[in-house]
């Protein structure tokens, strides 16, 4: 097995593992699973395996894979702050039907009846930022050194995916939130917040991933 094949395999494993976390909440809201069980069975194991694979890439001196992964995770976390500025502002202006990280927290800790507290808020925010990190990881591994419009497109695709997901369906506001208020407030907030996420992600990775080939470059080799 060549080094390029090994790098490709690690990248593919990382991509598969990164895709787990963002799909857990939609699966729960679709009635397919109970969140507290998914945390133990999927969320924590996938997080641990991602860290293990990054360490393996470091030990094997696969600097490019290691850097793409770490850069993606950190850029994803920072981009989530940009997303949050718009999402939280939208929520406070009444443009969102609810506070999603708080909702995720109470569902994660199975304490809907008693409502949110500091621990559920921490859990919800941690999960939200981890999802941001995972989207950053996926983008970094797939695109490598990127352009701004790559990030914008990526952010918008995530936003659209969210608006047609079981999460929005469970909020009872219809696809794209057309049933909420005048029909545009929700989608406008989601689009702006995810565009901000994508733009900040691309802006950071343009610099951090300079000169690092992406997965497609390896595939061709």
């Amino acid at each position: 097995m060549t080094i390029q094949t090994k790098k490709l395999l690690i990248t593919l494993f990382l991509l598969a593992l990164a895709g787990i976390s963002p799909n857990l909440f939609p699966a729960v809201q679709a009635g397919m699973a109970f969140f507290p069980l998914l945390i133990d069975k999927f969320l924590f194991p996938s997080a641990v395996l991602i860290i293990v694979l990054i360490i393996i890439a470091k030990i094997l001196a696969y600097k490019d894979v290691n850097r793409l992964a770490i850069n993606g995770i950190f850029a994803g976390i920072l981009s989530t702050i940009a997303l949050e500025i718009f999402r939280e502002s939208g929520f406070r202006l009444g443009m969102m039907p609810g506070d999603l990280p708080r909702l995720m927290g109470v569902i994660m800790l199975n304490q809907f009846a008693s409502g949110p507290d500091i621990w559920s808020d921490l859990a919800g925010w941690a999960y939200h930022f981890w999802n941001g990190a995972m989207f950053g990881l996926i983008f970094s591994l797939l695109v490598g050194e990127c352009k701004l419009w790559h990030g914008l497109l990526y952010g918008l695709l995530i936003g659209i995916g969210f608006m047609v997901s079981p999460v929005v369906k469970s909020l009872g506001i219809g696809l794209f939130g057309v049933g909420f208020k005048d029909g545009y407030q929700f989608s406008l907030t989601v689009v702006i917040a995810h565009a901000a996420f994508g733009l900040v992600l691309a802006f950071l990775l343009m610099k951090w991933n300079k000169g690092i080939p992406n997965i497609w470059a390896r595939w061709r080799k």
Binding site: F91, G94, G98, D99, V106, A113, S114, G115, P116
Partner: protein, 156 residues
């Protein structure tokens, strides 16, 4: 002397209106079955007091539903909490008599704040349990009516 205004139709209309109003009031009361008590204590003190009083009256709080906190996730700021109150032994007797009573017990006691005042309300147990057959169920319902009245009476 001929009267300037004939009062007969006006009197008849007024009597009809009063009778209708009384009938409608009776209907509303019979349909709602909601007992509401205005608490003399603050919202938090009422919740705390109920929890202690429930324990002292041979029942227990089986579950709490904090709707106020729940709704804070939507941006609404209110104080409202439901306490589900019951006793496993009494429940055993009621369920043995008629397993359908789970719809009415444990008793749901709702505490809420409105215009600065705290209120406690609940569906009358005898009215709720009256929907179910069973002699034991009816006896339990009457007992629960008394217990709930005593419990909430402490906060008047």
């Amino acid at each position: 002397m001929k009267k300037l205004i004939d009062l007969k139709p006006i009197t008849t209309a007024m009597i009809a209106f009063i009778v209708m109003a009384l009938l409608s009031y009776q209907q509303t009361s019979a349909q709602s079955n909601v007992v509401t008590v205005k608490s003399s204590k603050s919202y938090d003190a009422t919740i705390e007091g109920i929890k202690k009083a429930v324990a002292g009256s041979g029942m227990m709080v089986m579950s709490e539903l904090n709707q106020g906190k729940m709704l804070s996730m939507t941006g609404l700021s209110i104080k409202a909490e439901s306490l589900f109150i019951g006793n496993p032994n009494v429940g055993k007797e009621a369920f043995a008599d008629n397993p359908a009573v789970g719809l009415a017990i444990p008793i749901r006691l709702n505490v809420y704040e409105q215009d600065g005042a705290t209120y406690i309300n609940y569906y009358s147990p005898s009215a709720n349990l009256g929907n179910f057959t069973g002699n034991k169920v009816k006896m339990i319902a009457q007992e629960l009516d008394k217990k709930m009245a005593m419990l909430t009476g402490m906060f008047k």
